[in-house]
Amino acid sequence: MTAYTPTHVGSVTKYVMVESFDITPADLALRGYEISKGVMIKETCFGLVISGKEGEVDRIVAELRKIDPDHIFVKDRGFPPGDARRCRANLGGARPGYNGLEFEMSIIPYVSHGLEALKNIDEKTVPPMEDPLEHPLLDIYKLKKMIDAQES
C-alpha cells in the first residue's frame, strides 16, 4: 500500500442545482464569478460545483440562492471538482451517485411548488402527509409501476 497525501485540505465543496424556467446554470455561474474571491467554480449541466474555504462558499451559496430561492437547491459534496476518483472524464459513463441525483431531480418540481405555495399559506394549516409506516394494501402508483414493468 502507498501513502496517501490529501489535496484541498480544509476546503468545502457544494453542489448548487438549478431546476428553473428562468435561470440557467450559465446565469448562476456568471453571478458566482462576479462575487467570488478565491474559490473554484465549475459550471455543469445541472448547476455549479463550488469549492473553497467554508465561509466563502457559504457566502456565495447564500447570494446565489437569492436569485431564485424556490428553484435552487444546495448539497454538500465529499470530493473536490474534477477529482480523478469521481470525475466521469476519467471514469467514463455516469458519475457514481448521479442516479440518486437524477431521481431526486424528477421530484424537485413538486418540492419547488411546495416552497412557493408555503409563501402564501401557513404550514400549520396544511394537513400532514400519510404515515409511511402504515402500509396500505396496494398503492395505485405501485400498481402502475408493476403493470409498466410487466409490459416492458
Binding site: 496517501y4 497525501t5 480544509g10 444546495v74 448539497k75 431521481f103 413538486y110 418540492v111
Partner: protein, 148 residues
Amino acid sequence: MVKVFIYPATSLILSDMVARFGHTPLSSATAIRERIQTAGLESPPLQITPEEPKKGLKWAAVEVPAGVRGRMSLYGPMIEACEAAIIINDADLAFGCMGCARTNELIKFLVHQKTIPRLELNYPKNEDEGVKFVAAIKRFLTELGVAK
C-alpha cells in the same frame, strides 16, 4: 442549530431543506470528505481502509458482512451525534449501486432506538403532496428550533 440526520444520507432534497430552515444536515458527503482530506494509506475511491470495518464493530457484530460494518463506520458516528432525524421511507435510490439494504435497515433501526424527534415521510408524487411534504419538514424543523 440542531444536527439533523437525514436518510437517505445522500439526499439533495433533505440536505437542502435542513440547511434552508437553519439546521445542520448530517449527510454522507461530510463523512466522506473527512476521509478524503485525512492523510493515511491510499485506498481509492472513497478512502475506506481496512480499519473502517473494525470501527463498524461498534454497531454491527463480527459475523455481519464487512460492507455493512464499513458503511456503519461512516453512518454510526452521525447517528450518535444527531439530535433529530428525517427519514424518507420509499427511497429506492438508497439501494443498488450506491447502497446496501442491510445497512439501511440497521440505520433505520438505530435511529428508531434513539429517543430523538423523528419525522417519517415518503417522497411526494404530485404537487399537492409536494406542499404537504415541505410543510411537514418546515413544521418539524421550526419546532426543533423552538425546543432548543
